[in-house]
Symmetry: C2
């Protein structure tokens, strides 16, 4: 258990308002009673009661509370808490929630709050504001902070430059370990957390890095030059955050220098931001595969969600019409043999599901770079073989069942034949569609679904109705 | 760019075999030419050439190479490289690959390799071995290491105890900062990486922790007691790794103490292992939503995959038969009006897709604990409203198109009415199914899919064919 759950109860004040409500229940879910108490305190503008409730809250808990409140209560909570509100909590909420809250707050309040933050958190907040308001907040900050934040904001969205922290420790290579440690002991304004110190030349070019544990293990007279890692992990500030995340993951990093195009040290990226990037990315893949936009959040409004889910349903409608067109080609057969109409959705749905299985594996393997030129053919062959095998197995099962149901062994044979065909096509579609989209630079997670199901629907109806028409001379 | 890509080319040996092949191409994909060269060197047992190829490889690159090789080449690579093979690479490959390789290697080789590793990596390797072989390897290790590894292995699978590293630095509270730093300078056998040191009493109970940056900033005569965090982050060794990962994520941790049930310090979990856990978990959710078992890997055999994908397809077949049963109820209507057979798959497929959208959002929000008792009703109402809205929008679009296609405004009206019905049911099914499964302790990612699509299929066919039959008096 983490410390938050061990926390000693707050000293109870007098009066009936004594509260020792837990923020989360045993399963880690937000406690509805706590939420109600917080909402009450906000509605009644009871500052002290509110402060007692959220005293010692970690920024992530404060963030979760903000998300759970009604939209109009969120800025009120911040105003009521005043200087005791930790603006880092705003980095823990959904982007839509953050934008809404920032709309409501005075720029002076935001400027005050942002000043207390590490630069990466400040940037996260500033990038959620409209440009004019962003400029107003920046204007109210001291020059040094303003320049550093502005520089981060000038890097492209979702780049390393936006995620980096501009607070870091950099020393010249000729310092000794002792000098460096003394410097850190004497400087008040050190970054809140750091895992390595950097070594730079007078023009700020990155020369090396020294992890803290190595610094601690070295004797005082040794020069930094002699203990530094001369090939430090570094990323370019313009690099996309997903690429940076993959590097952290691959090389088990906790911190990496960020350099500009001239190799000058401009910031540091820490692993906690990378953990968030990885989560965001996985979240995006999951949602996109399910036909939901990657930025859809629980806090979005009904109208926003309706609009954002529309395109996928529309694409699906178009492919469904295509499939219906295929069915129409066989109108006569359907009229003569209604069993075909009853059984055809089974064939199509088996194909759709098998195609989705293959596609899911392919999309994920492409995202994690496990699938590439070196093994594409092996995976294609493997999927085709799996499709053929499962096709044969289900041909026997489904053929038998359908034959018995309609007391027609021939119908069973026809559906079996159709099933083998559709499962092989489903496997091929499931792998070729994502590979092709990826080759052309289209994100396969977003758009593979409709293509794959339209292939499986069309092949499914065509194979089943076509084979049946030929077999029974319909 | 990371250092690996900046690496200066190796000194070129004489002869025609000079190689300066890149391991990855610009897109981060494995270079097929490199792979071919490595495979050649293995087949020809050319130890030196092989060593030159993988010289300075990071364990993750060595792991990627192992995965890309043919199965019989993998143990050969390890044997050829001998002592220069870093066994940490085995922690970077899929579990199935690891098991296969370990089957082939001599236990003496494994024991030798495992000795060099941090305990968490050693445990990852040992837990992939059969019990007898695991015991053989443990027998060949020095007693201290054997005991520590055995203790980790005694914790349940996927628990914090399995993921922890048993190498850590713990000091008594009365030591000074100076003493502690001197101790670290003089001790050779420190953990490879660490971000905090722990404070314990004589019985090893965890009293506190000191992050390295705080240690560095403190003056030498200060006692540890005065700088330590007296409520250090801690997890129980029996806690599931996913819970631990959520805590790291929530509180931005890089390292956490692991304690036994008596509060004694037994190990430390570092963030790099947590990054892997988060990836595994996201991977599992993505695969399960797509109807694939969470442990399916690109390296699995055709037969294994065929068998593992069978149950989902079988479940889908059963629900498809149910839906076909519904269609059969309306055989007469279908015979009289073949347009119904043509249009009915459109209705079902729209419902299936809308249901999947809602389900995806719900499953993901349950996994990240964003959806809980406190907001379930709000989300249910929101999803129902989105379903109703999109139902109305598509009723108009689809109704118009179908009406024009079959030149029957009445048919358009019928399909529109059916569509509103099915999209509302899809939304409700998409949220209630995961919520209910979750309430009963069943993982919603694994089993929501078949339930949701069977609801949408059955409601879709029933609504469309039922309304049509009533409307047209079929």
């Amino acid at each position: 258990m983490l410390e938050v759950e061990d926390k000693t109860p707050l000293p109870k004040p007098d009066g009936p308002e004594t509260e020792s409500l837990a923020f989360r229940d045993e399963e880690g879910e937000l406690n509805p009673e706590f939420l109600a108490a917080a909402a009450d305190a906000i509605e009644a503008s009871e500052v002290e009661r509110l402060q007692r409730l959220v005293e010692d809250f970690h920024e992530s808990e404060l963030g979760d509370l903000l998300e759970a409140l009604e939209p109009d209560q969120r800025p009120r909570l911040i105003e009521l808490l005043g200087a005791s509100f930790d603006f880092a909590a705003l980095t823990e909420v959904d982007e839509a929630v953050r934008e809404e809250i920032l709309e409501e707050l005075e720029t002076a309040t935001v400027a005050e709050g942002v000043r207390e933050l590490d630069s990466d958190d400040a940037v996260t907040i500033l990038e959620s504001m409209r440009e004019e308001e962003q400029a107003e907040v920046l204007d109210q900050l001291p020059a040094i902070e303003r320049v550093a934040l502005q520089r981060s904001l000038d890097y492209p969205e979702d780049s390393a430059g936006r995620r980096m922290q501009t607070e870091f420790i950099a020393v010249p290579p000729f310092w000794t370990v002792g000098q460096t440690i003394d410097f850190m002991r004497e400087t008040d304004d050190l970054p809140e957390t750091f895992y390595e110190i950097f070594v730079i030349d007078p023009a700020a070019h990155l020369l090396g890095s020294v992890p803290l544990d190595r610094l601690l293990r070295s004797k005082r007279p040794v020069t930094i030059q002699d203990v530094m890692n001369a090939e430090p992990d570094r990323v370019e500030a313009t690099e996309h955050q997903e690429e940076v995340a993959r590097l952290f993951e691959r090389y088990n990093l906790v911190s990496s220098a960020v350099v500009d195009d001239a190799g000058r040290l401009v910031g540091v990226i820490l692993v906690d931001d990378i953990v968030d990037v990885l989560e965001e990315e996985a979240d995006a893949d999951i949602k996109q595969l399910g036909g939901v936009k990657s930025d859809e959040e629980l806090s979005d409004t009904i109208l926003y969600i309706q609009r954002s889910r529309f395109p996928w349903l529309f694409a699906n409608m178009c492919t469904a019409f295509l499939a219906a067109g295929v069915i129409r080609l066989f109108s006569d057969s359907l009229e003569r043999m209604v069993a075909l109409a009853i059984l055809m959705p089974i064939v199509a749905s088996m194909g759709g599901n098998a195609g989705t299985q293959t596609m899911t594996v392919a999309v994920r393997a492409l995202a994690t770079r496990e699938l590439g030129r070196a093994n594409a053919w092996r995976i294609i062959r493997r999927e085709a073989a799996v499709g053929l095998l499962n096709g044969l197995v289900f041909a026997i099962i489904l053929g038998t069942l359908a034959g018995l149901w309609f007391q027609s062994p021939q119908l069973g044979f026809v559906i079996g034949l159709a099933l083998v065909t559709v499962l092989v096509f489903a496997a091929l579609g499931g792998i070729f569609v994502p590979l092709t989209l990826n080759r052309f630079g289209v994100d396969p997670a977003v758009s593979s679904g409709p293509f794959v199901t339209s292939i499986t629907d069309i092949v499914g109806f065509f194979a089943f109705l076509g084979i049946a028409t030929a077999w029974f001379h319909l």
